[in-house]
């Protein structure tokens, strides 16, 4: 039983599914928050898939999402700022989710990978995720 793939499946059904629902309905603020959460979960899913398929080259996908995901959210914050400001999003789930989810995924993966350049890449991805998550959720709330 491949636990990494099972975790990825759980994140996809339980995480990306509701994010898709949130991105498709509601006010602009809620949609952007859902998109932000989706990019965070996507990065974690890619890390789990890389370990589950035993293909460390897939970690590059997670690396790119860790930087481009927050960039996408900031695009929406900048250009939909007025619409978000009318109806600010209420839920404040993203910062705790990223502060819990990122270490919870990166640390077991680091243990499974062992020391070396690959672990350095994982740690970098974790740091980028946390920084991106905190900054974008603050930016959306303040839009």
């Amino acid at each position: 039983m491949n636990w990494w793939l099972a975790a990825a499946l759980a994140l996809v059904t339980g995480g990306l599914g509701p994010c898709l629902w949130g991105a498709a309905r509601g006010s602009a603020g809620r949609r952007v928050v859902a998109q932000n959460m989706a990019t965070l979960l996507l990065c974690l899913v890619f890390l789990l898939l890389a370990q589950g398929y035993a293909r460390p080259s897939y970690v590059d996908l997670a690396l790119v999402v860790a930087v481009l995901g927050p960039a996408g959210t900031l695009v929406f914050t900048r250009l939909l700022g007025d619409e978000i400001g009318e109806n600010p999003p209420g839920l404040r789930l993203l910062t705790p989710a990223v502060l819990v989810g990122a270490p919870a995924t990166v640390v077991p993966l680091c243990i499974a990978t062992g020391p070396g350049r690959a672990m350095g890449k994982l740690v970098l991805i974790g740091l980028l995720l946390i920084a991106g998550g905190i900054v974008t959720s603050a930016a959306v709330r303040r839009a």
């Binding site: 996809v12 994010c19 898709l20 991105a23 498709a24 293909r55 695009v75």
Partner: protein, 82 residues
């Protein structure tokens, strides 16, 4: 497990695409299109095509929403003035 992942992600892609089509306002459609791009990237990775997934991610996460929203802003600005 492999098959379950493929089926779930295929269903998510179908749902996201349908949601994008049913969305009428272009500015909000940009958000749904961004989500569709993310699900497509997962689909390509699950089908063992990471190069295509990376290309989808690169284009669909920041560049495409930026172009759509800038166009919407330009069109609305012109419309508001006339």
């Amino acid at each position: 497990m492999h098959d379950a992942l493929i089926v779930v992600v295929l269903l998510l892609v179908a749902a996201a695409a349908t949601g994008a089509v049913l969305q009428r306002d272009p500015a909000r459609q940009a958000v749904v299109l961004s989500a569709l791009g993310l699900t497509l990237a997962v689909l390509f990775t699950v089908l063992q095509a990471p190069d295509v997934g990376l290309a989808q991610l690169a284009v669909g996460s920041a560049v495409t929403p930026l172009m759509i929203l800038l166009t919407v802003r330009k069109v609305r600005r012109k419309g508001r003035r006339e």
